[in-house]
Amino acid sequence: MILKSFFQKMKPLNWGIVGLIFVIAALGWGLLISAAGGDISPWASKQIVRFSIGILIMGGVALTNLRWWLQFSYIFYWISFVLLCGVECMGFMGMGAERWIDLYVIQLQPSELMKIALVMALARYFHSQSLPLSLAKVWFPTLLVLLPVCLVLRQPDLGTAMVLLLTGGMMFFLAGVSLWFFGVALMGAAASIPLLWNFLYDYQKNRILIFFDPGQDALGKGYHINQSKIALGSGGLWGKGYMQGTQASLGFLPEKQTDSIFTLLCEEWGFMGGLFLIGLYVVLLIACFRIILTTQNVFGRFVAAGITITFFLYVFINIGMVMGLLPVVGVPLPLVSYGGTALLTLLMGFGFLLNVGAHRTAKLPR
């Protein structure tokens, strides 16, 4: 009986998305094996375990009632917010930035959690409001966005701040906020750049300066991005072959298993390999857009759109970063980069997306 209802619940899920997630993740494991010089440990094995946990979370989230999440979204947001404040107090130094809370079992990154929580909170808010969105209706969601952004910037985690800000901004845009608002916001952002600059650590300032002039100090501060471009460019059309990447295997490529993993792919599989992965992402994005467009309740649409946008931003910022199009800000390549929390929250996000997809026609109270 229970089994039967379980399968009935599973049926409306978008299995295409699930399949794509598996394919992309499996491709990532292959790359992690190559990064370890042909060994499944230390990275691929751990990543598979994490992925399995993530898939369970995704399934769990997907099979719950969307209505329940609508109720829970603000609470979810505030929990994440409190955790984020927590890193200020009890976080410890990791990679020069305070981003982690040590839960003794896994290290939790509240900023990752916040990415989902913000989407949920904004979706809930826009769901509850009717058009037009006057200025009086916009200050609250603006606060919802800016509060975590400020906290994340204090850590300082430029990548996450950027993702939060852009996701929030695009959701505002989708919600029908007047274009004037964006004009004012842009000017405000431009005005606060010098102020922000002082908040940054030296290494971050260097990363941005290097972005504008990658040739300077090629062995020092510019080493990372230069070696990354060399690895990528030297792949050519078909690449050097699996596990034949010299830049990666001889240690010229820093962070090859995490942020630079796209470079590893391009070195070993060439332009075609890179194109293949981007193609998979595009197919996944299209599937996500289909859910957005076919969902009929506002909450669901905004949740789906928010998750999709976050996912897209990860892809774009990471790949743009390793190719020297964007400054190095430390954003992983979704589903592929080695790393725990990013994968878990992303899969959780896809859980929500699948959930929305399964409840496209559900009627939700305001």
Partner: protein, 605 residues
């Protein structure tokens, strides 16, 4: 809470248009990514491929062994001797300081050397080893081998050091090698290899390309910490060519020894059948073994500050007024031009006036009536004043040049200089003055503006004797045919007769130092070249000879000669700086010509 689950149409429309914009933006962004990827991987793929290879591959150059220089019998003049050198291998670069510290406790290794070594390890990017110390002693080698475990990166390599077994003999013509200068290294990658030496002078420089050989390399794959992962490829070096010279080691040594009797002198000995330079010496000489390992400042200053300029090859780059040695050419020019014949006589009263200027003869009392043979034998200046004036500078200069004056002699030889044959055009251009009869008269006795190198004088005598357009050479054992010169044999014979008389007939200028052994006699022409003008006052005091002047104001002594007179084979030109007369030069030439003939006899036996 009303249950508006479905969106209103208006809200739906706005949402759709805005999600379309976002979708479009995302599409554009992804296209930019693909475009960038295309640019980096396809458009610039080769460039980045090269950079990646440069990251991955490090090479270590392999020194070629330098070709030897041998004398005509195959005896080495310049060779490579095996030595042990201490090197630091750059794949242990992180341990360099500790290693050098340990090293200085084991062998003599000064703080200066340590500083130098640290500097060069910091500069190095490739895998080429840094040379710490050359010429290790056996004791040092065994000490280092014994403590090898405490000296990471240290290795003893077998290397070749250029040595010149004959030391100062032939130093000028051989030249020497030394570490290349920074300018030399530019545009020549091979010279950047540690331990590479380059010819700096003489034949070492002249034959640099052939002697050097081609360096090889070992290519290694290295990781980001520049540790060697594996060897990829190796190409052994190709040794340089061994070159057999025309020089005769024994004669060269003899010539040098003979010249050493004088503070500063030069001599060239040639075989006039083929132009082979058998000996070419300049004194004082130096030991070229000082240079390959880097000469000390003290030694260098000693050589540089020596007033007798030991580093200059006077046989090739010393320019001297040829003086009376030019007279055979004046005689030939006059005969050739038909200005005189064998019987034409000129009366020599001991002087001649050109305008108001009185030109003196070497014989104050005058030679009386002299013909061309007598004039050559006794070196009568007045005869040649008269004859030279009649021939004129144009025809004189043409003959001078025809005999190789002003040509240098050895094309492309380093630091070789050319003599000077003055002409009307030359004087106009250089001095801005018109040519005068006085100038012609002076050019007729090899003074005034005229300059020649000892090698050029050797060519003059060789061409006079052989009647061919002989060219000197330092390499090549095969015979060689030179084109005939367009002078009548009888004219040449007449000039040679005069030169034979000079060394064999009573009254000849070289008669006193003639070769007495029958069958070995020589012929030749003496010359003294004034370093400064003899003043009227000195002349009045009878100081026409300059023995009593300080050394550097005395006349140079010159002699060019050939032997044996009946069947000439050897020619020699000798210059003794500030000898005061030609006598010492004649004696040196006599000894050399006799020795050369005796050596030939000995070889035949």
């Amino acid at each position: 809470m009303s249950d508006v689950t479905l969106m209103s149409d208006k809200r739906n429309a706005q949402f759709l248009s805005r999600i379309f914009v976002i979708g479009l933006l995302q599409g554009i962004c992804l296209l930019i990514l693909v475009g960038r990827m295309y640019y980096l991987q396809i458009v610039q793929g080769n460039y980045y491929h090269l950079l990646a290879e440069g990251n991955r591959v490090a090479t270590r150059a392999l020194l070629p062994s330098r070709g030897e220089l041998c004398d005509r019998h195959g005896v080495p003049f310049a060779q490579n001797t095996t030595t042990f050198r201490l090197v630091f291998l750059m794949d242990k670069r992180d341990k360099v300081e500790k290693t050098l510290e340990a090293l200085s406790k084991l062998i003599v290794f000064s703080d200066e050397e340590k500083e130098e070594a640290l500097k060069s390890t910091r500069k190095k990017r490739g895998l080429d080893a840094v040379i710490l110390k050359e010429n290790l002693t056996w004791a040092e080698v065994s000490t280092i081998e014994l403590h090898g475990a405490d000296l990471p990166g240290i290795s003893v390599e077998v290397g070749g050091v250029r040595t010149y077994p004959e030391k100062s003999v032939g130093a000028h013509v051989l030249g020497y090698v030394a570490a290349p200068s920074e300018e030399e290294q530019e545009g020549d990658e091979a010279l950047a290899i540690p331990g590479m030496k380059v010819g700096k002078n003489g034949l070492e420089k002249h034959f640099e390309k052939r002697l050097r050989g081609v360096p090889g390399y070992s290519a290694f794959e290295v990781n980001a910490r520049r540790k060697v992962v594996r060897e990829l490829d190796q190409k052994p070096s190709a040794p340089g060519q061994t070159i057999r010279l025309t020089l005769d080691g024994n004669l060269q040594a003899y010539v040098q020894e003979t010249l050493e009797a004088h503070p500063s002198a030069a001599a060239v000995v040639m075989d006039l059948r083929n132009g082979d330079i058998l000996a070419l010496a300049s004194t004082p000489s130096f030991d070229p073994n000082l240079f390959p390992q880097g000469i000390s400042h003290k030694e260098w200053n000693k050589l540089r500050d020596n007033v007798y300029v030991p580093l200059t090859n006077k046989a090739l780059s010393g320019r001297y007024p040829p003086g009376s040695t030019i007279k055979p050419l004046v005689a030939l020019a006059a005969l050739h031009a038909g200005v005189i014949n064998a019987n034409t006589t000129v009366h020599c009263p001991g002087y001649m006036y050109v305008g108001t200027h009185k030109f003196h003869c070497i014989c104050k009392e005058g030679h009386g009536p002299v013909n061309v043979s007598q004039a050559l034998a006794r070196s009568c200046d007045v005869f040649f004043y008269e004859v030279g004036k009649k021939v004129g500078i144009d025809r004189l200069a043409a003959v001078y040049q025809d005999f190789g004056l002003g040509s240098g002699g050895l094309p492309d030889f380093p630091y070789q200089k050319r003599g000077l044959v003055p002409t009307k055009a030359w004087k106009q251009e250089k001095k801005g003055e018109k040519w005068t009869v006085s100038d012609t008269v002076q050019a007729s006795i090899g003074q005034g503006y005229m300059l020649a190198t000892p090698l050029e004088l050797a060519i003059v005598i060789a061409r006079l004797v052989g009647g061919t357009r002989l060219m000197p050479r330092l390499e090549g054992i095969h015979g060689m045919l030179f084109p005939q010169m367009d002078y009548k044999r009888e004219h040449l014979d007449l000039v040679l007769g005069g030169m034979g008389d000079a060394a064999n007939m009573l009254g000849g200028t070289a008669f006193r130092w003639r070769i007495l052994d029958p069958g070995y006699e020589m012929g030749g022409k003496t010359g003294t070249s004034q370093v400064r003008r003899i003043t009227r006052q000195q002349r009045a005091l009878g100081q026409t000879r300059t023995y009593h002047l300080p050394w550097k104001y005395r006349e140079h002594g010159l002699f060019m000669a050939y032997a044996p007179v009946h069947d000439p084979r050897y020619v020699v030109a000798v210059l003794i700086e500030h000898a005061g007369s030609s006598g010492p030069a004649v004696q040196v030439a006599r000894d050399i010509l006799l020795e050369a003939q005796l050596m030939e006899k000995e070889a035949e036996l």
